[in-house]
Amino acid sequence: MRHRPPRSSIRKRVTARPTVPSPWQTLAWRHYEEAQGEALRDPAIEAAAIAAGPDLATRIAARARAFCARESLDEALAAYARHGRQALVIAVVAGTAIGLGTARLIPEAAPARANVMDMLAALLAPNLLALLLWAVLQLAASLRGGGAAGSLLGQTLQQGLERLTRGLRARRDPRARAAQRAWFDYHAGTMAGRARLALLSHAFWLALALGAMLGCWWLLSLRQVDFYWGSTLLGPEAIGRLIEVLARPIAALGLPVPSATDVAASRLDAVANDPALRARWGWFLLGALAVFGVLPRVLALALCGALVRLGDRRYRPDLSQPGFFRLQPLLMPEPMHTRVLDPDEGAGRARPSVAVASLGQPPPAAAWVALERALPAPREALDLGTIVERGDQQRLLATLAQRPAWPALVIHAPLAATPDRGVAQFVASLVAAARCPLWLSIAIEDEDALPAAERAARIEDWRALGEKAGIAPARIVEARA
């Protein structure tokens, strides 16, 4: 038997700060339970979850947190979270290395000359194109209601991990399996998950831009490079305007930038051996990397960080999924609105016990009277008809008052009729008025009209009625059609 932890420890588990994002934990526990086929019950956890908040989503999350801790699912989730952190480190290291490698575009040979427009395109275009692609994918995902994995890198990572973890460990261990399924659900199906994957991608590109900037700064510090530009179609005015636009935010950072004269002096065919001009072009290049490479990624990282926090906080599970649907009655019990307005003072009174069935039979020439429903009397008997109305009752009582010479009076009671107090009252008045033996014959017309248990209870009630009215138990019989 599983050791049950004390209540305080359950409360701690419910309110503890989750080691992995709460929605991921919630999804993992759902998958684990769905594989089990039913919601696991623990009254202490349920009570603590109900106390965690007024809404179902909060309660589901609190319950999942407590169960994940109790059933060691947190360990499987932590392993995935560790893989995520490792992937982040790899992305940063790879980004930095590629960035540093990109800086080797700075020429080495002396006299070194570099086309400034080529350099800008090579260092910034992939980064900006990828950012644009990410933004378009995000827009498309939000327009179609989610589902896209945030970025190409994210999507590729997701599928790569899926293939890698399709191994035996997940197959054998239901916890690992649930954690893995939840990983996919969280990262592909929630805003926070998609933003988390995008964080990975932005970290990679940020590292790449920083690596490129660092490498360029290092190489430009050690090498003397003459920057030039050349164009067949564009004149110096157009290039000058472009450089001016690009340089404006760089100048705002306080970095020296080339002027229109500098642009004119740096044309492919111009000869300008000016160290200050070289430095201005060098700072322009580094500034462009900072403003158009690093800054957008820092902003994107901040945006995704905020989306992760917001998404995790605002996550609402799909309550129509079976795993969550089953939790509604457990975590949102409907308060009982019923109240007793007029109590029964005789509450708890037991129904009287009755004697067992009699095997005797009333005399053949007895008088028979049916209650409420027309029932056939035996052929030799005197059929007094059916008591339906108040008048029928009064007529029979008047007849009895005249002391008819009947060998017996048989009250024929249909099983389908309810032996209520009104009937009991009438039977009691018959017992009082009759001067001949009274029998009660319980007519069981249709065996299947009532379920067996109800049939037995009804017979018992008729017997009790007869005995209470004063009919001897031996004269209460059952008659089957």
Partner: protein, 456 residues
């Protein structure tokens, strides 16, 4: 908006007529009160409150049954023999007298509640013959001065004498009569009942109409949720693939367990308990899983997967091209595309080789369709079951009639069968493909089938 107020409704009737049953079914609460075929089961006045919206509340009070109505009518006349006394004054005089505390204590509770209410719902067991004791009850109710709606219960029973009851009630001057079987639920009857309550309580007419709209919306929501639950279970069962030789891997047990869980979910959705359904064992046939390499749908999915992988590879290559300031002339894009498709194809091949020699069991298409049919029929029966019903529903062991749109449902089930990773029950964790899309499509198809079943 009208001033919020509380409307009091007393549910009155002869003992065992189904007063508590009426409340159970109207409230969708099988736990309300106590229901049995024995007399005097309810011995106290128990009330519950329905929120009609806009602050309007409807209090429904269940009362002990009237048992000795002939004696009661006599006692009422004895309490105030004046021929000019009004019915309400006579009732009050009776309630203030000693008999209301002794012989007729049970009836007194019901009458006290009747006088405190705005409306009485008088419940009649329509299987009963129209007896004198009931005529006396009509007379007592009519004399109370309270508006009264007669609810004919158990009208779906072949023994019901609905026409005779209507005739007797009209003869007694009672024309507000409606049929509502508390065991065999009929939404149209419920609509008529609330409409009549609205007519008898003009101040509550608009709110009763809103309640009806809400009930209709709830029914629709329940039907859609039922379709979703069935779709999820079907995908779980159809996609489940179990290696035949794997230890502890029993296909039949897992599928039966999942079907039982589905039944429990559907019962809970319609506010019934597990004991309301005697779920028989699922007749199961399993088939050895074989992959038809020329299956059109499979080839389509394969082509889509390879195309997507190639596109991703090409996109990654394009970035490399950009890194070289496009001096590579698009070579990286071409190589990336080829690599993407190649990696996809090789990983599929490696997977097949790794699994080589292992036979898998999977339920066959007929079994999957059977589960769908049985679940849809269960929903149909639950939506027509009153919450007062005592006899459990029996599971169907044979189902011949196909569902509406079953061909399309079968197509989605075949789609699920190609993706073992979609089953929550199996060991596969392959999330490839779009399970949600399959569940969504199945839900829509099953919802249409449910609409057909419920309206048919």
């Amino acid at each position: 908006m009208s001033t919020p107020r509380l409307f009091r409704v007393a549910v009155i009737g002869h003992t065992n007529a189904g007063k508590t049953s009426l409340l159970r079914t109207l409230l969708r609460d099988r736990a309300f009160g106590e229901v049995s075929s024995r007399p005097a089961t309810t011995r106290h006045v128990e009330a519950t409150t329905l929120d009609l919206g806009d602050g309007h509340l409807l209090e429904l009070a269940d009362t002990p049954g009237l048992e000795d109505s002939m004696g009661l009518l006599d006692a009422l006349h004895a309490a105030d023999p004046s021929p000019r006394a009004s019915g309400a004054a006579r009732l009050q005089a009776f309630l203030d007298g000693p008999l209301a505390q002794s012989s007729f204590a049970q009836e007194a509770k019901a009458l006290r509640q009747l006088l405190a209410s705005d409306l009485a719902l008088y419940v009649v067991d329509a299987r009963e013959p129209v007896l004198g004791k009931y005529r006396d009850e009509f007379a007592i109710l009519a004399s109370s001065g309270k508006p009264c709606l007669v609810v004919l219960n158990f009208t779906a029973s072949p023994r019901a004498e609905t026409a005779r009851w209507r005739e007797a009630l009209h003869g007694a001057g009672i024309h507000n009569v409606t049929a509502f079987d508390t065991v065999v639920f009929d939404a149209a009857d419920e609509r008529r009942l609330w409409q009549q309550v609205g007519l008898l309580l003009p101040a509550a007419e608009a709110t009763c109409a809103r309640l009806l709209v809400r009930r209709e919306q709830t029914r629709e929501r329940e039907r859609q949720q039922a379709a979703r639950l069935i779709a999820e279970a079907l995908v779980d069962c159809a996609a489940l693939r179990v290696a035949i030789d794997a230890p502890g891997a029993d296909l039949a047990t897992r599928v039966r367990k999942r079907e039982a869980a589905l039944s429990r979910d559907l019962l809970a959705l319609y506010r019934f308990a597990p004991q309301d359904y005697a779920g028989g064992e699922l007749p199961l046939a399993s088939a050895t899983w074989t992959l038809d390499p020329f299956d059109a749908e499979l080839l389509k999915e394969l082509g889509f997967s390879l195309g997507t992988s190639a596109a991703k590879g090409a996109a990654a290559g394009a970035l490399v091209d950009a890194l070289t300031a496009f001096h590579s002339l698009g070579a990286a894009t071409a190589i990336g595309g080829a690599l993407g498709a190649g990696v996809d194809a090789v990983s599929r091949l490696v997977r097949r080789l790794r699994e080589g020699g292992v036979d898998y069991a999977q339920i066959d298409a007929a079994t999957a369709r059977f589960i769908a049919r049985r679940a849809v029929l269960l929903v149909r029966e639950l939506s027509r079951r009153g919450h007062a019903a005592q006899t459990p529903l029996a599971a169907r062991a044979e189902l011949a009639a196909p569902l509406a749109g079953e061909a399309a449902i079968a197509k989605q089930l075949a789609r699920a069968a190609r993706h073992p990773g979609w089953s929550e029950l199996g060991e596969d964790t392959d999330a490839e493909g779009d399970r949600d899309d399959c569940v969504q499509t199945l839900s829509t198809l099953l919802d249409a089938a449910l609409v057909h079943e419920l309206e048919g």
